[in-house]
């Protein structure tokens, strides 16, 4: 697979700090993949994300977005056009009085033709399931709806990559589900590359890849099933094991033979039920 973002030994220290917030991060993100990033508060996740579209540029090392160096000021507009960002607080990201104006904000600034803006805005709002609300006032929407409008605003720019920094932190469970489903559909149906930062383990079980950050370094990088099976690592990093992984682990410790690492509730229940039933038929 083709890498769309490459970090090459990236170091970064905030101006007021002495300690490095990123200490030599090297990795590449594949086109069309869904990459979730976990780590405790202050682990460097947001700093990492902000390097992906040149909000921050490395003190040392470099970041390439589709081959463009983010430190090169000539490329910065191009980089930002390719990488859209969504942040935690939807109220800080919406600027217009009407939903569709808000979504049109970026393409207008990019000088897109009015006819095409119309098409992009409609398509983006449909993609996030907010087309019926296009004439509503953003401030009267629920948190999940606002966040989906913010995502539509990013999609209307037609970026290749979308980076979301804890987009569900301020939402209730229903709003969280809406946003998570929307983001997965962008990746699976539209082929967008997604980098998704979260504190909620259950939001990343379907990700292609999981990166765990700690003290500015990549502490683990692999498939969700492998990382979530590692209770020791998660505990050390102040993260939680999803209930499914924890249950499988404890049942195995009691002598049940469970193969595989199904993380979704349905798959996990299916595996346990099958094993219990086959044990019964044997005895």
């Amino acid at each position: 697979m083709e890498p769309v973002i490459v970090f090459d030994n990236v170091h970064y220290t905030y101006p007021a700090d002495e300690k490095e917030s990123l200490c030599g991060v090297s990795l590449s993100i594949e086109k069309g993949s869904f990459v979730a990033v976990l780590g405790h508060n202050g682990s460097g996740k947001s700093t990492f994300a902000k390097h992906m579209n040149g909000i921050l540029v490395p003190d040392e090392g470099r970041v390439l977005v589709e081959g463009l160096d983010t430190s090169d000021e000539e490329h910065i507009i191009d980089v930002r056009r390719r990488v859209g960002m969504v942040f935690q607080n939807p109220d800080n990201q919406l600027v217009a009085n009407v939903v569709e104006d808000d979504v049109a904000f970026a393409p207008e600034n990019l000088g897109v033709e009015p006819k095409e803006i119309r098409e992009r805005v409609d398509a983006a709002l449909r993609q996030v399931g907010m087309y019926d609300y296009r004439m509503h006032a953003p401030h009267l929407l629920s948190g999940g709806q606002k966040q989906r409008v913010a995502i539509a605003g990013v999609i209307a720019m037609q970026p290749d990559i979308i980076v979301l920094d804890e987009p569900t932190a301020m939402l209730d469970p229903q709003g969280r589900r809406e946003v998570v489903d929307t983001v997965f559909s962008l990746c699976r149906e539209k082929g967008m590359t997604v980098v998704y930062i979260t504190h909620h383990m259950d939001e990343c079980i379907d990700a292609d890849r999981l990166i765990v950050m700690s003290n500015g370094c990549v502490m683990a990088d692999g498939k969700p099933a492998d990382i979530f099976a590692n209770a020791e690592l998660l505990r050390r990093e102040g993260l939680e094991q999803p209930e499914t992984a924890r249950l499988l682990q404890d049942l195995r410790a009691s002598g049940m033979r469970l193969e595989g690492e199904p993380l979704s509730v349905e798959d996990c229940a299916e595996l346990i039920a099958q094993v219990l039933q086959s044990e019964r038929s044997r005895s």
């Binding site: 301020m170 499914t244 049942l251 299916e270 005895s283």
Partner: protein, 286 residues
């Protein structure tokens, strides 16, 4: 002593305008002294409107709120005094820090209570200890600290008033799992030492399943369920219908029952689920 009673509490926003909206209707509840209760419900179900009545930030459209038997809205002095007895910590309280130093921010509440300087100092140190705020931070600006530290300072600011009732609106939102556990432990420690009544609004069913003595479920401005975690989570199906989550262990138990694995109704924590599955397994083996 700090028992809260709400008597047929109703609140209508923007009454007699085209935007009129009934946020809560006919809520009658008794929350006895020392209880640790969780309020759950989705956005717009009326939880926040309800808790803002408990220290007279909002006045009922109809109905009453009683603290230890007395109407908290009986006159303007009562309405002021109740704010010292019933401490309210809002969502994302770290955005409400405003003083120049951590110490002064925590001291703000008690400073308005006409206490002596020594008394204020004692309370600030006590509140900081409860919430795990290091005294070394006292002279720092709260605005330059991390999100988790700011949140603890904001909670300390309310605890410094030594409220008899402590109400927190989603105190763990946006924190990492370790931060969530820490904040909850701080709150429980205050409750244990002070005997305060504690109400926590939460979206995290897994947290609620672990700590609450009582769960009050709001739906559409009314109370849909009210009982012990056992009682509420044994009706997981109903919670799902209201559009709420259930703890992950309860969700797994529902999925296993659908696959004909016999599990008791009252399974909603990891330990209970593990235990029930091991029993189901033994039962089958012999």
């Amino acid at each position: 002593m700090a028992e809260i009673i709400t008597d047929k509490l109703c609140h209508v926003y923007s009454k007699d305008t085209p935007f009129e909206k009934t946020a809560i209707r006919d809520i009658s509840l008794t929350i006895p002294q020392g209880q640790l209760a969780a309020l759950i419900g989705h956005t717009g179900s009326g939880k926040s409107t309800f808790i803002q009545h408990l220290n007279a930030l909002l006045q009922p459209t109809t109905g009453r709120v009683l603290l230890d038997g007395e109407d908290i809205n009986r006159d303007k002095y009562a309405r002021r005094d109740v704010k010292w007895k019933v401490g309210l910590v809002f969502q994302y309280p770290e955005y409400q820090l405003f003083e120049e130093t951590v110490y002064r921010d925590i001291a703000f509440g008690p400073s308005n209570m006409k206490l002596s300087k020594d008394e204020i100092d004692e309370r600030v140190r006590e509140a900081a200890a409860f919430t795990g705020v290091d005294e070394a931070l006292f002279e720092r600006s709260p605005l330059e600290l991390s999100g988790g530290q700011k949140r603890r300072i904001a909670i300390a600011g309310v605890i410094a008033m030594r409220p008899e009732v402590l109400i927190l609106d989603e105190p763990t939102a946006g924190l990492d799992p370790a931060g969530r556990t820490q904040i909850l432990d701080n709150i429980f420690r205050y409750r244990e030492k002070s005997g305060a009544t504690v109400l926590i609004v939460s979206h995290s069913m897994d947290d609620v399943a672990r700590f609450a003595e009582r769960i009050i479920v709001f739906d559409d401005g009314g109370i849909a369920m009210d009982g012990t975690p056992d009682e509420v989570f044994s009706r997981s199906q109903k919670l799902v219908e209201i559009g709420l989550n259930v703890p992950k262990a309860a969700e797994l138990a529902l999925a296993l029952r659908r696959r004909n694995i016999p599990l008791p109704e009252s399974v909603f924590t990891h330990e209970q689920l593990l235990d029930a599955l091991l029993k189901a397994r033994e039962g089958k083996a012999c």
